[in-house]
């Protein structure tokens, strides 16, 4: 138990880290340097100020419709639209830590792109060289024979990747999960920033924070780079959404408007002679790149689910003919498989000849008799996960599980060892969160967004998700999670000069952090 000492601030009074790695407070109870300016800004505020700010933020999100929807079973009129709660204390990542993460993320996504291209159009060299077993890929739920031979310009298969990062009890960053299909959450990154700037501009007064509102142009640029050769320099890009009933619909709207492109549904698109067009009031208009937020299974009823009304009949043939690019590429799910995840460090070594910069969480592969035996012995100390689920579904956390749950997990492993993995329980790092009139530590993770086009780039920061319930490790929005604005500092804490950035970029950073229209942080020097 550490209580933060030496702080005059009322906010950290009685704040304890409870032995967890805390983002803001070090093991000795002192505030980490990159949180000092936030702490002093907070000191000037009363709890009532923050409560008011929170109310303003919630009201703004609600009227703007920045919501996800919890759908009722059978009655449309009882659907509930919820805002994704945002804690007002931002998470801060110092420039040097971010530089490390950025390098690691670029390395990882580069290798994953290479792997998927190798798998679907490259003849599976990695299998022939004995690095990843063939059977493991073939038996993955995400393995998609229909994607064979479908070209992706620049091999940018994971055009948008959301890599879930956590910190262990030593504070080391580790990759928990790769989301390479349709990762969502980027709209919250941008909206959280703009909301925080609106309700608590004071916080930005003394820090140089890297901006995030360039996401739309970064994404558009990446999408334009992967256009089919025939489309030339400025291919027509669209965002393909399942429609307004989808829980992430707000984000689809957000992306289309940030990029200034059409938001289309499947029924707006048509394929003629293996070319995709959208139906406009002026007739058909050619489409070159589709940023789709629809699962593979629904994309084309000719090839996948025949009853899919969300997709576009003939789309896959158009993609195969090289007349349209689908991003993210079809078939990426195989690399989301948590058993395949365990091989990502090997992929990095194989394709790039480098050592992984960010480590995986140590993972037990349960088809291996020795590893399985170890896991079954220690089931009550480990986390068991189904390989194909995202978002924490099907998770069994050994130390918190009942005997019956453990027995069920044991049976599932024995029945189907390929489709489960086990990991050590990692107590996610904690971060101070506003709880009524004081701060308490809550567990957080981080989902940075990585874009692949000509180059692989990372949006500074990412979505910090918070398990708002005390002691909970579940950060998913559908299950009581919230989020935080995530700051990447423009330079290292206490270092006034740009941290190793080239001068041009540094200037950009210095002028850009608060360029959201009409916002002028109070007291900025």
């Amino acid at each position: 138990m550490h209580t933060v000492g030496g702080m005059s601030g009322k906010w950290f009074e009685g704040y304890t880290t409870d032995g967890f790695f805390d983002e803001a407070v070090d093991g000795g109870g002192g505030l980490r340097p990159h949180y000092e300016s936030i702490a002093s800004t907070l000191d000037a505020l009363d709890p009532a100020d923050l409560t008011r700010a929170e109310r303003r933020r919630n009201a703004a999100f609600r009227t703007q419709g920045i919501t996800f929807t919890v759908y009722a079973e059978d009655d449309e009129s009882t659907d509930i639209e919820r805002t994704f709660p945002m804690d007002l204390v931002p998470r801060v990542i110092p420039a040097d830590e971010w530089a490390f993460l950025e390098r690691g993320l670029i390395q990882r996504v580069t290798a994953l792109n290479r792997f998927l291209d190798d798998l679907y159009v490259g003849g599976m060299q990695i299998v022939k060289d004995g690095v990843v077993p063939r059977w493991l890929l073939i038996t993955s739920d995400g393995f998609t024979p229909e994607a064979f031979g479908v070209p992706v310009p620049l091999g940018a298969r994971c055009l948008v990747a959301g890599i879930d990062i956590i910190r262990d009890d030593q504070g080391a960053y580790r990759v928990l999960e790769d989301n390479l299909r349709c990762p969502s959450g980027i709209s919250y990154v941008v909206e959280n920033r703009s909301a925080l700037m609106r309700v608590l501009p004071q916080l930005f007064a003394t820090e140089q924070v890297q901006p995030v509102d360039q996401y739309g142009s970064m994404l558009l640029h990446a999408l334009q780079r992967v256009g089919p050769p025939a489309a030339g320099d400025s291919p027509t890009v669209v965002v393909l959404t399942p429609g307004i009933y989808n829980s992430a619909y707000f984000e689809h709207v957000f992306l289309a408007s940030q990029m200034g492109v059409e938001l289309v549904e499947g029924r707006d698109l048509v394929v003629e002679d293996h070319v995709v067009y959208m139906r406009t009031t002026q007739g058909l208009r050619r489409v070159d790149v589709i940023y789709r937020r629809i699962d593979d299974d629904y994309l084309d009823p000719v090839v996948f689910r025949p009853d899919s009304a969300l997709g576009v009949p003939g789309l896959m043939a158009a993609a195969r003919a090289g007349n349209v690019t689908i991003a993210n590429a079809v078939g990426n799910g195989v690399a989301d498989d948590k058993a395949v995840y365990a091989f990502v460090p090997e992929m990095i070594r194989y394709y790039l000849g480098e050592e992984p910069i960010i480590d995986n969480v140590e993972t037990f592969l349960l088809w291996d008799p020795d590893q399985r035996a170890t896991v079954l012995d220690r089931l009550d100390q480990l986390v068991v996960k189904p390989v194909a689920e995202a978002g924490g579904y099907g998770l069994v956390i050994g130390p918190h599980a009942t005997d019956a749950e453990l027995a069920a997990a044991r049976q599932q492993i024995l029945d189907d060892p390929r489709n489960y993995i086990a990991q050590e329980v990692i107590s996610l790092s904690r971060h101070p969160c506003l709880v009524e009139d004081h701060l308490e530590g809550r567990h957080v993770d981080l989902r940075p967004f990585v874009l692949s086009g000509e180059d692989v780039e990372v949006v500074p920061g990412g979505l910090t998700r918070v398990a708002l319930r005390k002691g909970s490790l579940v950060v998913n929005s559908s299950r009581g999670g919230g989020s935080k604005d995530t700051w990447v500092l423009a330079h290292a804490a206490g270092d006034a000069s740009a941290d190793g950035e080239d001068p041009g970029e540094a200037t950009e950073v210095l002028t850009a952090p608060v360029r959201t229209a009409g916002l002028h942080p109070v007291g900025r020097r």
Partner: protein, 365 residues
């Protein structure tokens, strides 16, 4: 033997169809026992065809029609030369099926899918057949082949596509597709990799399989199966008529089951129903030359499959039961959330915009 195959399917619709998008898999493959000499696809109304080769090595001709039409004719004409399967000389033992490299190479043909998801009854029957001839793999394959031929009674129209293989087994009747799926499922249940084959058979009767007396027959597409023999490759067998795949079998392609090598799959948009009339004419023609290929399929060897990996144990479950509304589908995207079952109530006599998921109200005004 050399054949000219003319595959012709006419889809006629009750009412005008505004759009149709399709994939045709009707082109005979080239393999160790077969060579394609000529192939041509004609679509009416005319449509541009895009051809490619799928993951299973089958030629796919994709085409779409985007004009109102009330019928669609698909014609695929092929000239092909065949020589039949030869019984392998090797005599591998059942243990060879568990070799790491073998499982790794054929793993996709050991999994279940919706057509081959077998239950305990099928597994027990297969195990009994295998026990009779153990430890010989080829003997096991032939025993299963024979068993399927004796267990099912050939009954055209008795089953529908999508029938569960357990139901085929329990029902005891079927057509060639059911024979093939049952044989594939039984092989897989005892660890023998097996795949579904689609093709044409030069015979007047599928169930007898004797070569036609005349030089031309009118048939439908046919289905049989192939099983992998350790050290020897694939062995083609036709359980519907109790034959080894012969020079009268013209193979289009193979896959894990029917879904991978459907002769024609597609969708059309329109109000009505369709009627299908598929006809295959096979004509025997004098051979032009003798041809044999020595090409071998390259084999990848990854020494990583654990010996006791219980493959194919997991029952197949359809992740997306069909018949859901557009709203349900929108909901299902990227979430394991609620699925709505109620239907939207239709409105009043005021003009009303069709809500997403609501159809056929567009022109009510």
């Amino acid at each position: 033997m050399r054949f000219d195959v003319r595959y012709r399917t006419v889809f006629s619709y009750d009412e005008q169809v505004s759009e149709s998008q399709n994939e045709l898999r009707a082109c005979p493959t080239t393999s160790e026992t077969q060579r394609l000499l000529d192939y041509r696809v004609t679509i009416q109304p005319a449509a541009r065809v895009f051809s490619s080769v799928d993951a299973w090595g089958t030629r796919v001709d994709a085409f779409g029609i985007r004009r109102p039409h009330d019928s669609m004719t698909v014609i695929a004409e092929a000239s092909v030369e065949t020589s039949g399967s030869v019984m392998p000389a090797a005599a591998p033992r059942l243990e060879a099926l568990r070799q790491k490299g073998f499982v790794d190479e054929y793993v996709e043909y050991l999994q279940r899918d919706r057509h081959t998801d077998f239950g305990a009854e099928i597994a027990r029957a297969a195990a009994e057949q295998v026990d009779l001839v153990a430890p010989d793999v080829i003997g096991a394959i032939l025993a299963i082949h024979r068993f399927v031929g004796q267990t099912l009674r050939y009954t055209p129209g008795s089953t529908e596509v999508g029938i569960a293989v357990d139901d085929v087994f329990a029902g005891g009747v079927g057509v060639c597709q059911d024979y093939a799926h049952l044989a594939v499922a039984m092989c897989r249940s005892v660890g023998i990799p097996a795949r579904y084959v689609s093709g044409y058979l030069f015979t007047e009767r599928d169930d007898v399989g004797s070569p036609a007396e005349t030089d031309a027959v009118v048939v439908q597409t046919h289905a049989w199966f192939e099983a992998a023999v350790p050290g020897a490759g694939w062995l083609g067998l036709d359980p519907t008529n109790g034959q080894i795949a012969s020079e009268h079998h013209v193979k289009i392609g193979h896959g894990r089951s029917y879904d991978d090598v459907q002769p024609l799959r597609g969708v059309y948009l329109g109000p009505g129903n369709s009627d299908v009339e598929p006809v295959v004419e096979i004509r025997r023609v004098p051979p032009i030359d003798l041809w044999r290929s020595g090409a071998n399929v390259s084999v990848s060897a990854v020494d990583a499959v654990p010996a006791d990996l219980p493959l194919g144990v997991r029952r197949y479950s359809d992740p997306h039961p069909s018949g859901s509304s557009i709203r349900q589908q929108q909901l299902q995207q990227q979430q394991t959330g609620a699925v709505r079952t109620g239907s939207l109530r239709s409105g009043h006599d005021l003009p009303e915009r069709p809500a997403p998921g609501k159809r056929n109200q567009h022109t009510r005004t």
